[in-house]
């Protein structure tokens, strides 16, 4: 990503901005929600993917350290995805691509148990996060 950032620096206007959107290094929380009630069931984990995220963070820090860009700001944001039931979880996980995340130990049985005893209009809620990092091209 360092190479990509340097390449991008070459096609940006002076003081142009580079903005990176990445997933947050945060294990997505899974819960059963019905009305205002929210019952945590576990989380989605992806240790392999965390390595890529760490590398991306390091690349962003590096181009700031080497003076190619200045850090304009960084912002974390959480968002929610709602599924109609546990049956949609495998499809959702497929959409996340590779390396594929997995449910943490105990999440699936707990989710099934909570789901069986939940009211009809309940949903599965996944809370995930993103990080926006804005860099400004320097004169150098």
């Amino acid at each position: 990503m360092v190479h990509a950032l340097h390449a991008v620096g070459g096609v940006l206007r002076a003081k142009g901005a580079a903005v990176s959107i990445t997933p947050e290094r945060f294990d997505a929380r899974i819960a059963v929600v019905s009305g205002s009630r929210r019952l945590p069931a576990g989380k989605l984990v992806n240790p392999s993917f965390d390595r890529y995220l760490l590398a991306a963070e390091a690349a962003l820090d590096r181009v700031v350290r080497d003076g190619s860009f200045a850090l304009e700001g960084r912002r974390r944001h959480r968002y929610h995805i709602r599924l109609r039931g546990p049956g949609e979880l495998p499809e959702y996980i497929d959409l996340l691509g590779t390396p594929r995340p997995r449910l943490s130990a105990g999440t699936w049985p707990r989710l099934r148990t909570l789901w069986r005893s939940s009211p009809l209009a309940s949903r599965i809620e996944i809370t995930d996060g993103l990080v926006i990092t804005a860099l400004r091209r320097t004169a150098s």
Binding site: M1, H3, A4, L5, A7, V8, G10, V11, L12, R13, G16, A17, A18, V19, S20, I21, T22, P23, E24, Y52, L53, A55, A56, E72, G73, R75, R76, H77, R78, Y79, H80, I81, R82, L83, R84, E88, E91, Y92, L95, L96, R123, E125, D128, G129, L130, I132, A134
Partner: protein, 110 residues
């Protein structure tokens, strides 16, 4: 702790990304996109490209996945978006077409 959090949006279509408009809103906290020349790296199927194109003067969108690029082009055509050019490639081989840009967005690409 996050700086912000979406309000809940009910399942319109299964999609692992934030609701439409969230990323653009967050980008604009730092960088205005209105009437800017934007380069998007890793445009994929064009989900975010279309949101950028509605604000920007022009968007050059690149991705190393030809199939996804085809979907993005089809989506742009379907939505009547004409200020986007799509190219095959990755960040390291970024083209000079459309340069210089005001803003480059690495769109969920690591």
């Amino acid at each position: 702790m996050p700086d912000s959090c979406d309000r809940l949006s009910l399942d319109v279509e299964m999609n692992p990304y934030p609701a439409a408009g969230i990323e653009v809103r967050l980008i604009q906290r730092f960088v205005p996109l209105g009437r800017r020349r934007v380069l998007e790296i890793g445009c994929g199927d064009g989900r975010l490209t279309m949101q950028l194109a509605r604000l920007a003067a022009s968007v050059v969108a690149i991705d190393p996945d030809r199939e996804a690029l085809g979907e993005a082009q089809a989506a742009a055509k379907r939505q009547g978006i004409r200020n986007v050019q799509f190219f095959y490639g990755a960040g390291e081989t970024v083209r000079r077409v459309g340069a210089p840009f005001d803003v480059a967005v690495f769109s969920w690409s690591l």
